[in-house]
């Protein structure tokens, strides 16, 4: 059933007519030709489709486009404001944190979310003291918080330091 929506993506508004069944991921890739979010599993299991919705990381494959409303969608593309790579983009390159690169835009969006969540003091399943005022992004914390992003090339050993470098620069790592 066709419905008219306007998606706000990476700073631009796009009026669209979509079938109600269209996911945000398919709307971005197939309709807006923004192929930075990737389709890995289409079932919330791999994280390749991760985007930021009003700044919070979500799996765009499980979000129906009609439910987005006027929330701001940020893709890995959009993190490179003005064509300038985001610090996470740079650190993934510097740390050699990928091989094929298919999972990378999702990893980058997820990592951006992880750093914001840590800044807000959110704990994780490996946080020893749930009541601590601040969150620290140790390697164990990064591994746990990034567990929703799979990498078939298994670049994990380099993804952790890539995220840690930016966490350090953002003041959420000790």
């Amino acid at each position: 059933m066709d419905t008219e929506i306007t998606l706000r993506v990476d700073g631009a508004a796009h009026p669209l007519t979509v079938d109600t069944r269209t996911t945000l991921l398919d709307a971005l890739r197939e309709r807006l030709r923004n192929t930075s979010p990737k389709k890995g599993c289409d079932h919330g299991q791999c994280g390749a489709c991760t985007v930021l919705l009003d700044g919070r990381r979500v799996n765009s494959c499980l979000v129906l486009a009609v439910t987005v409303g006027d929330a701001e969608v940020t893709t890995s593309d959009g993190l490179a404001a003005g064509g300038q790579p985001h610090p996470l983009h740079r650190s993934f390159v510097e740390r050699d944190a990928f091989q094929c690169g298919y999972c990378t835009p999702g990893q980058v969006c997820s990592a951006a979310g992880v750093i914001e969540e840590a800044r807000a003091g959110w704990p994780s399943a490996v946080t020893a003291d749930l009541t601590a005022a601040d969150a620290e992004l140790t390697d164990a914390e990064i591994r746990e918080r990034m567990s929703g992003n799979l990498c078939r090339c298994a670049a994990y050993a380099n993804i952790v330091p890539a995220v840690a470098d930016v966490a350090q620069a953002s003041g959420v790592r000790r």
Partner: protein, 331 residues
């Protein structure tokens, strides 16, 4: 995916009224379970009534010293709430041990409670499954059931089902004696959470005692003054459903169990309140021997399947270890 109409209501009462006239419609929360099941052809609603932003996204202090959790509160926000972390650590730990950061940002409290089983026959429309297609049989009974139930299953007849309820959050809420607030076509009612999920009985298609069109509006947590914790055992360290989990709270006075709450996840069609074990523990010395005897008393009722017998000793050991941790007897 079947075609559907998308309807946004202005308030909870309007959402209830909308769905009341749509026998094949469904409420939509974060969609992380429902949209998945729609893609698989397991759920085929013809109307979705979006309630994610309609129901409250706030956690508020209740007059009795407890908390009221709006149905729309995302799992991530609930886990991060200071009051939950300080007063209900069992709930924060259960939430943080579930799914992924992305899913927890989108998933709502009501949707989490009402998520459907992960049984692989249920999610595959080419297989027999009494829950999805009543009368077709239970593929898991003689098939792959390593992660299925060991307690309270229906092992023969039309209701045959050996599935587990997958929510970690619900197990913690059962141990906390939460109360679910519901708004239906006939008005509002309160359901003690232990009476929300049901055993398969003679009808595996119904996960809960909710009637069609009833909207979960909030979950109330009574005050809690006992130390509590959640322990989950899974196939990998993160981002996996429970094989077995335990939500426990314990108060020890003069070396004796003064009060205890115990619920098990991953073992039944509903979060399993271990009432037998609780009864066996009250007034007993808070020792490893008492804990093991209580766990054994609870699990005496277990009827494991050929492929999941490991869950019985696993549940026993996790109960003992979690209670020992709560006594401070284990680091």
């Amino acid at each position: 995916m079947r075609e559907f109409r998308y309807a946004a209501a202005t308030d909870p009462a309007a959402a209830v009224a909308l769905l009341a006239g749509e026998p094949s419609g469904a409420f939509l929360g974060g969609g992380t379970n429902l949209v998945d099941l729609m893609k698989l052809g397991v759920a085929t609603p013809d109307v979705l009534v979006d309630v994610r932003t309609l129901t409250s996204r706030e956690v508020t202090d209740a007059a009795d010293g407890g908390l009221r959790i709006g149905a729309g509160v995302p799992n991530a926000d609930l886990a991060a709430d200071r009051r939950v972390r300080e007063r209900y650590p069992v709930l924060a730990q259960a939430l943080l041990a579930a799914a992924s950061g992305q899913l927890r940002n989108r998933a709502t409290t009501a949707g989490n409670l009402l998520q459907r089983t992960r049984c692989g026959y249920f999610t595959d429309v080419t297989r027999p499954c009494n829950k999805r297609s009543p009368g077709s049989g239970c593929g898991a009974l003689r098939g792959l059931h390593r992660n299925h139930a060991v307690l309270g299953q229906t092992l023969d007849g039309p209701g045959t089902c050996v599935a587990t309820q997958p929510s970690d959050m619900a197990v913690a809420m059962v141990a906390l004696d939460a109360v679910v607030q519901v708004l239906g076509p006939d008005g509002a009612r309160s359901i003690p959470i232990g009476e929300l999920h049901r055993l398969p009985g003679d009808d595996a298609s119904r996960d809960t005692t909710l009637r069609h069109g009833e909207l979960v509006t909030a979950v109330d947590l009574p005050p809690m003054d006992m130390p509590s914790r959640y322990r989950k055992v899974r196939d990998r360290a993160s981002f996996a459903f429970a094989l077995v989990s335990v939500a426990a709270a314990l108060r020890v006075e003069d070396g004796v169990v003064a009060d205890v709450r115990l619920a098990l996840g991953g073992v039944a069609h509903k979060p399993w309140r271990a009432a037998v074990a609780e009864g066996a523990l009250r007034g007993r010395p808070a020792t490893e021997e008492s804990f093991a005897a209580a766990a054994d008393a609870e699990l005496a009722a277990a009827t494991p399947l050929p492929g999941n017998g490991y869950k019985v000793p696993l549940a026993r050991n996790v109960v003992v270890r979690t209670l020992l941790e709560l006594t401070g007897g284990l680091a």
